[in-house]
């Protein structure tokens, strides 16, 4: 009796659920497809905007640009292309130095959190690192310009005095470095502090996903903890670390405010990171020249933005390629 009573009811409810599930499926697929399309459309829109707006500057053959834009001075060796060259060099140099400082530190922090720290300390530290990522870049810029740089300046002079034979730390002709400390190295240090949370967060997740069996196997074979990290954690997390570094590089390349507030800008291919007026980055240059730019100036600045867009795209493609080449070790599988 009970079965005959139950059967139609349960059949009806499965029917209903199936239909509901199907509807939910359709809606959900629609929503996620739209979201995915939206990101493509945004990217395409940005690329189109950059190209369209930069077109007048890129195709300017008559020298009208130089006449209308005061910072384009072909006679002084500062045509738009030459400026782009200086800025790309400055951007890449400053970002690369920032990564050189940030990557070892970040991996150390991530390793400490995932494998060395007591659990309670690890979660607290992880939280603090995430908090560091939430501080706006303008605050980092102000802090760097007002607090950090005056502290660093004597150290820079020391570097130049004793390590001045290294081209990077070479002082100016009279043996002094910038009296204000507003130099490329300062920008790199502040950028490094800004990208540490990003690299740390990603590498920490990857390290945590190291298969327990690998670690235990290493330890069972008599490996010390450091040997275990080297044998099990690093090989497993290598692509993740590279991906995280590239993510950090992306942030460093595009960072505007911190560099804008910290660096005494200049346009050269100099290696001297302790002297002022040698470097500038694309983003910071755009930010400083935009307020007073006329329409031709805006077009030229957007052309510089296009250059930055291309560099960022290349960096991301490189990261993608590296990660996919080592897909078998990826933390994701």
């Amino acid at each position: 009796m009970t079965t005959t009573q139950d059967a139609p009811a349960s059949a009806g409810s499965t029917d209903l659920t199936a239909r509901q599930e199907q509807a939910a499926n359709t809606i959900f697929r629609g929503l996620s497809t739209t979201a995915a399309l939206l990101i493509l459309i945004t990217l395409a829109a940005v690329a189109t905007f950059l190209l369209a707006e930069a077109w007048p500057a890129l195709t300017d053959a008559s020298g009208e640009l130089a006449a209308k834009v005061s910072w384009i001075k072909p006679d002084d060796g500062e045509s738009l292309i030459q400026i782009a060259g200086f800025l790309i060099y400055g951007t890449v140099l400053i970002s690369a130095m920032a990564l050189l400082i940030a990557t070892p530190l970040s991996i150390g922090i991530a390793l400490f959190i995932s494998h060395y720290a007591p659990r309670r300390l690890a979660s607290g530290l992880g939280y603090l690192i995430d908090l560091l990522a939430a501080i706006p870049s303008v605050v980092y810029g102000l802090w760097g310009a007002i607090v950090l740089i005056p502290v660093l300046q004597p150290f820079y002079q020391w570097l130049a005095d004793y390590l001045g034979w290294i081209p990077l730390f070479a002082p100016a002709e009279d043996g002094t470095v910038s009296a204000t400390g507003r130099v490329a190295l300062s920008a790199s240090i502040v950028l490094a502090i800004m990208v540490i949370p990003i690299i740390t967060a990603v590498t920490r997740e990857v390290f945590l996903q190291t298969p327990k069996l690998h670690e235990e196997a290493a330890l069972a074979m008599g490996a010390t903890r450091w040997e275990m990290v080297r044998m099990a954690v690093f090989p497993f997390g290598r692509s993740g670390m590279i991906g995280a570094t590239m993510l950090g590089l992306g942030r460093a390349l595009g960072e505007t405010m911190a560099v804008f507030m910290i660096l005494s800008s200049g346009l050269t291919y100099s290696l001297q990171i302790l002297n002022a007026a040698n470097h500038n980055t694309i983003a910071s240059y755009i930010a400083s020249q935009f307020p007073e730019a006329n329409s031709q100036g805006v077009s030229a600045l957007i052309a510089l933005g296009l250059a930055l867009f291309v560099i960022t795209l290349l960096v991301n493609m490189l990261a993608r390629w590296i990660v996919s080449r080592r897909a078998e070790f990826s933390g994701a599988n």
Binding site: K73, S178, A179, S264, A276, A277
Partner: protein, 372 residues
């Protein structure tokens, strides 16, 4: 206890709001009769609407004061000013998006032509000098408040040729001042700015050794740089032996340079800055005699004139197609040019009030602005 406090608070709030309402009600009645008795102009009461302007950020704090002062007389008028920069302001004005522009630099020939198309009729647009701001050469030297320099010395310093404060070129002009041997740190603007343009214009015209043309973008290769006036002043304040240039109102406690004009050394002052504008001729290519576009005379020898000034203009049409727009523009700009408006700007932004003669000349020009 808690409940009692809360009731008390609510009661207090209620009383307060009633009192406020009573206040505003009692204020409303006499106001119209007050203003009508004070302002004899018949259109004063009718003025309402929104006036949009955009342009030079140098005028921003003065504009705040003008807007507040103007709106206290004409409560129904909203004045908007977008400090997008001189170039952006002129573009917006020429596109017809705003009724007037604020600009640190003059329109070029092409922009004059665009203005003819933008404005009603064929009389184009004119410049009115509304904001005169002396630029101070500021420095940070312990115990020294003022130093005398001629233009050649300043140019040599900013070219990086004079590198220490006790250099003979500086010492010879400053007998009795004990100058330390501190190294000079040059600080200039990193961004394109009207201050830089006027400073380099002064160096290019008044000195023989600057070697660059006037440019809003710093032409020299040496020195530190900061984005914007605040950053520049901050760097000079933080660095012993630093020298830079900034709007005089921002000089604060820093030492300032007295410029050599003729045979004397003139420190910046409001009167000295206004004096150089009155001593300057109008620029070539100006749009008729109503276009007060000055070619600033940086090499003036007029006694007591301070030639290192920034003059910021308001650009407006000689004829508007809409009478309401015309009324808004002219009455606002008349207020700006009035002694009261100039005083407001001086106290808010540290600018130098334009001379009384210039003020009445501007008012006369504004009376001629037509509407179709």
């Amino acid at each position: 206890m808690k409940i009692a406090t809360r009731t008390g608070a609510v009661a207090a709030a209620a009383v307060l709001s009633i009192a406020l309402a009573a206040c505003s009600a009692s204020n409303e009645d006499p106001t119209p009769s007050d203003t009508s008795s004070e302002t004899p102009t018949e259109d004063a009461m009718e003025l309402s609407g929104t006036l949009n302007g955009a342009g030079a950020s140098s005028q921003e704090s003065a504009m705040e004061a003008w807007r507040a002062g103007f709106q206290s007389t004409y409560a129904d008028v909203t004045v908007n000013y977008d400090p997008v920069g001189s170039g952006g302001g002129r573009t917006q004005f020429l596109d017809g998006a705003t009724s007037f522009a604020g600009s640190d630099s003059l329109m070029d020939a092409e922009e004059y032509e665009l203005a003819v198309a933008r404005c009603d009729g064929d009389s184009g647009a004119v410049h009115l000098p509304m904001y005169i701001s002396p630029i101070a050469v500021i420095f940070n030297l312990e115990g020294v408040d003022s130093i005398n320099m001629d233009a050649d010395t300043i140019a040599a310093i900013f070219n990086g040729e004079i590198t220490s404060w006790d250099d003979a070129a500086i010492a010879s002009q400053n007998e009795g001042v004990s100058l330390p041997s501190t190294a000079i740190t040059i600080v200039h603007r990193a961004d394109e700015s009207g201050t830089t343009k006027n400073f380099t214009d002064y160096l290019a015209k008044a000195s023989s050794n600057w070697g660059h043309d006037a440019s809003g973008d710093w032409a020299g290769a040496a020195g530190e740089s900061g984005n914007g006036t605040s950053a520049l002043v901050q760097i000079v304040q933080d660095t012993d032996g630093a020298i830079g240039y900034a709007d005089a109102s921002r000089a604060g406690d820093l030492g300032t340079v007295a410029l050599k004009v003729g045979e004397e050394y003139v420190p910046f002052s409001a009167e000295a800055a206004a004096a150089v504008v009155d001593a300057s001729p109008l620029a070539e290519g100006a749009n008729g005699e109503n276009d007060l576009a000055y070619e600033l005379d940086r090499t003036t020898t007029a006694s007591g004139a301070y030639p290192l000034v920034l003059v910021s203009y308001h650009i407006l049409c000689q004829q508007y197609d809409d009478e309401a727009e015309r009324d808004l523009v002219t009455s606002f700009l008349k207020y700006v040019a009035s002694a009261e408006g100039q005083e407001q700007a001086a106290s808010a932004a540290g600018s130098s009030p334009i001379s009384a003669g210039l003020s009445s000349q501007i008012t006369a020009i504004l009376d001629e602005i037509a509407a179709a």
